[in-house]
Assembly symmetry: C2
Homo-oligomer: 369 residues x 2
């Protein structure tokens, strides 16, 4: 079966590129002797992340639905890396009661007290989120608050985690390396402070694909959380984390119209198939809603310039005339995503292809909470 048998739009996954991306990151982290805790929020498919489990300490998840999925698919050690609220505890404890080894995340005394109040029901551990770059959640590194939360958690305390979301705003490898070191120091220094108070974190967790790709030191860190690296995307290309040829997913679309006077092709992949993510808008190299490749996956100089729900408007980046004769109605194109997590989330599964475009299978993915 070839691409011609598919209904567009759909999400293609190159198994060859996936395997290469997984192997490259594993080799890098092996060289630092730090294990991965792959984040499944990007792939949300055991078929995708299964090879990444080799040598990993467990998995990271962004929802309890992912935790339930990961456990149902054979992984016990799961870190739920989003702040816990009391109303979700029953689900976490139920999973723990069934045999999962779950680690929850808190960044406040309130949340810590909520979990600690039910510690007797469960052996679920808790990590404190440390804020390494002022981007989102977490308590300040080496703060009294971190120590106070660890004390409230008592025997539930398991360690520290941070995520250098700020690495996405870097515009040089040097800057990413600085952020990576700041990310490491945020948790390693806090761990040292807690150790002085007699509290020893078992987990000292960092991670983002850019910092994992370029970080130069990981000493004191017990695990690395990465997700996007499995697929890569145009934001990762712009950050220097990978080449365009490494991007493992693409939306397969068909030409449904040609606006010759406006120098546009219209394709049947709009924001519903591509997502509304405009992650490359913040970079000099702005790919619109995605970089257009030919049927075989070779990049063109066209991007999806704008989107409606089920229509994508394709234009050449340099404004030169499109050779419309090459794009009859029904021509299939592959569109590389700005942001793999967002684009994949618009689809119920992956059509797995080999380098020749032969279809190897279909892998479902989890969506929802």
């Amino acid at each position: 079966m070839t691409l011609a048998s598919l209904q567009t739009p759909c999400l293609l996954l190159s198994k060859e590129k996936l395997d290469r991306n997984l192997a490259r990151m594993k080799a890098r982290m092996d060289s630092f002797a730090v294990p991965l805790r792959p984040h499944i929020k990007t792939a949300k498919s055991v078929d995708v992340y299964r090879p990444a489990l080799e040598g990993a300490v467990g998995l990271t998840v962004s929802t309890l639905a992912e935790a339930e999925y990961a456990f149902a698919n054979g992984t016990r050690d799961i870190l739920y890396a989003v702040g816990m609220v009391p109303a979700k505890l029953h689900r976490a404890l139920a999973l723990q009661a069934r045999g999962a080894d779950l680690t929850l995340t808190v960044d406040s005394l309130d949340a810590a007290r909520g979990v600690a109040a039910r510690a007797e029901e469960s052996a679920a551990g808790v990590v404190i989120e440390i804020d390494s770059d002022g981007h989102r959640a977490g308590v300040a590194p080496k703060s009294e608050l971190a120590l106070a939360i660890a004390r409230v958690l008592g025997p539930s305390f398991r360690g520290l985690m941070t995520h250098a979301g700020g690495s996405y705003e870097c515009r040089s490898v040097e800057a990413i390396r600085e952020i990576a070191e700041r990310e490491r120091r945020a948790v390693v220094d806090t761990a040292a402070m807690l150790a002085e108070a007699g509290i020893r974190p078992a987990i000292v967790s960092v991670g983002s694909t850019p910092t994992a790709t370029f970080g130069e030191r990981f000493d004191g860190v017990t695990e690395i959380r990465v997700g996007v690296y499995m697929f890569q995307d145009l934001v990762m290309v712009n950050l220097g984390c990978c080449a365009i040829d490494d991007i493992a997913i693409a939306v397969l679309a068909s030409v449904i119209g040609r606006q010759e006077e406006r120098n546009w092709l219209i394709v049947d992949a709009g924001w519903m198939a591509l997502s509304r993510d405009r992650g490359t808008a913040a970079f000099a190299d702005d790919y619109g809603y995605g970089l257009v490749c030919d049927t075989a996956g070779r990049p063109t100089d066209m991007i999806v310039q704008s989107c409606n729900q089920e229509h994508g408007i394709v234009a050449r980046r340099n404004g030169a005339p499109i050779d419309f004769g090459k794009f009859p109605i029904g021509t299939m194109l592959r569109i590389l995503p700005n942001h793999a997590c967002a684009t994949a989330a618009q689809h119920g599964g992956y059509v797995v292809v080999d380098p020749e475009g032969e279809i190897l299978g279909r892998w479902p993915r989890l969506n929802g909470w």
Copy 2:
């Protein structure tokens, strides 16, 4: 059952507001004696659109999956309003063979020939898309190309359709009225031109929620296509099409963190739950990723300022200090969407609520193609 029993994030639908929105649009179009052909691309749920079928000529869909769904749920007359490609014809013809009365869309001689070549297999009709505002697909109004396509279609020709997507860029009711008239004229004038050539369109179809809300003339039009009106959203508020109180869907989220130094609440609705749609960014009244309401649905002066996948960062619009005492961990908030189509698409269904927040039921929705 109340909201407290729900796992966040999830998508709430106010049945009262939905019913009001449906009734208001129907009353307006009844006053012009023009029937609706509701577009199900926003709701993608028969439970939502069922009341809108009363008095309607049929449904509009944006994917063949929606067409199959609509037919399976009892609607025969379905307009597929996205350009047809040869590789999808077998699905359309299969639906037609099962008893659907399907209308397809083309805007080129190529696509018309593709459909016409298989006309003997099926009585599916075809409309020609007319471009009323230079935004997307379609052939020029009153163009020779429209006539040529109609001739190629022969007995399959069924009429004309256009969509004034440009109405979303209007910044006054006057401007929307002008676009509405341009939308009407695009198809009505083209229909007149075809009539002179002896070709009579049975369908003369226009529609967008803004033009349907403010248009002053619909003579010559046989049907109005609207979808967003069922739910409304913040873009529609900014366009003057509805009030904030009319927005029928909201993402229910929980406070999972409080960054007091930065004056932020962190909620568990990130772009995965809200979508990446920043439709209000183009307006003076920019709601970020959504307007934050309290648990009961009353608007606050807070918006979701930025998003990660499962984290939303909530801030006050005026920068004044948040009264953090009012927002303990676990506090539920409702977030109104920029763009109902995009936000609803991130969810597998609706939690239907009454004005007191009692849960009336759960309605699944279709996603995918």
